[in-house]
Amino acid sequence: MHGKTQNIMFWLKRQLRALRRTANPSREFEAALWSKLSNEFDARHTTSPVHRPMWKFATVGVCALALFVSTGMGVYAYESPDVSVGHPLFGLKRGIEQVEGQFARTPEDRARFHQRMMNRRMEEAERHLARPARAVRILEMAADELDMSLQEFTGNLRDPAVREQMLDELAAENERYAEVIERVGEHVREFRREKPEEFRELIQRFRVQPPPSDEPLIQY
């Protein structure tokens, strides 16, 4: 009886194994599918260099370096008075300044922003005294900033306390402005001779009078 039971179990397992064998994939199918998967694997991982770990590392390194350099250039351009009209980085500097200007929301902020820009232009003009044409162009920009600062001050600034404080600050700036113009004046003499029309327009913008020949060229 026990032997018969064992035989039936043996027979059953043999039948299941036979059934299992009928469900095996063919070797041709196995090889063909692996070939297809292998090609797909190569297409996804091996052939594209950017997927190699070394290339990923290099890409990250290059991006980090580019970010570092561009950030450094931006900081240098923004901070250095040597970067002014005609400098390759001046566009970047103006771009950063314009972004900064977007954050000035109130009339007081805008007035202070233009005042700050005027100071920056004057620093740049002082650095370029030896190149009068460039210095004058920078001073034109400083005059524009002063105009815009005054527009905010006279048109929109209502708070009396802030107005008074800004008046004091503008008075101090004016003294410095006059000093810068006086220093630039020495170098502008030649410019006046070469381009009298442009010079006259510049004088008008700064609201200065041409001095007698034995006096300083520009008086504020």
Binding site: I8, R20, A23
Partner: protein
């Protein structure tokens, strides 16, 4: 991911996944081959996101299960994927009727088991999974599955001997 890792994974799992699909599409070999190709292609695409906390065999088994579910859903067929299909209508049904008598006897006895019992016998003896792998798929301990599968086999043996007596 190394190519040889994926190749090893492929060689270890192809036969079992093929059997899993084969018995659920009514032993239609060409349909099974198409589906298995798609399953392994999907596994290749997802291999980098494979969760190592589950076994690879349980992972590919789940992909195959979902892929088959989508296949039957697209065909608007209601199929219990935990169960096997031994018989088919039409062309492949004719083929199945030509198989040997012993094989048909085993299939008939298996169809008398409950779906849960049939699943255990199928996983172990037709698809070829170990008790450890079955435990990861079914969420039960290997020992419990071993006992349960042996009981199912004993029942199947009784059913086969009964039918052979007849």
């Amino acid at each position: 991911m190394e190519k040889r890792d994926f190749e090893q994974f492929y060689r270890e799992n192809l036969d079992r996944i093929f059997r899993y699909v084969f018995f659920r599409v009514g032993r239609n070999r060409s349909v099974a081959e198409d589906l298995v190709s798609e399953i392994f292609m999907k596994a290749l695409q997802k291999f980098e996101t494979y969760d190592p906390t589950i076994s690879k065999s349980a992972w590919i088994y789940r992909i195959a299960h979902n892929h088959l579910a989508n296949y039957f859903r697209d065909r608007k067929e209601q199929v219990d994927l935990d169960d096997v299909m031994f018989t088919l209508e039409g062309e492949h049904g004719v083929v199945s009727m030509e198989r040997r008598g012993d094989e048909l006897k085993v299939e008939a006895a298996m169809m008398k088991l409950s779906a849960q019992e049939r699943r255990l016998v199928t996983l172990k003896h037709l698809e070829g999974y170990s008790y450890q792998e079955m435990s990861e798929m079914l969420g039960k301990t290997p020992d419990a599955l071993k006992v349960a599968t042996h009981r199912c086999m004993a029942k199947l043996k009784t059913l086969c001997s009964g039918s052979s007596d007849n």
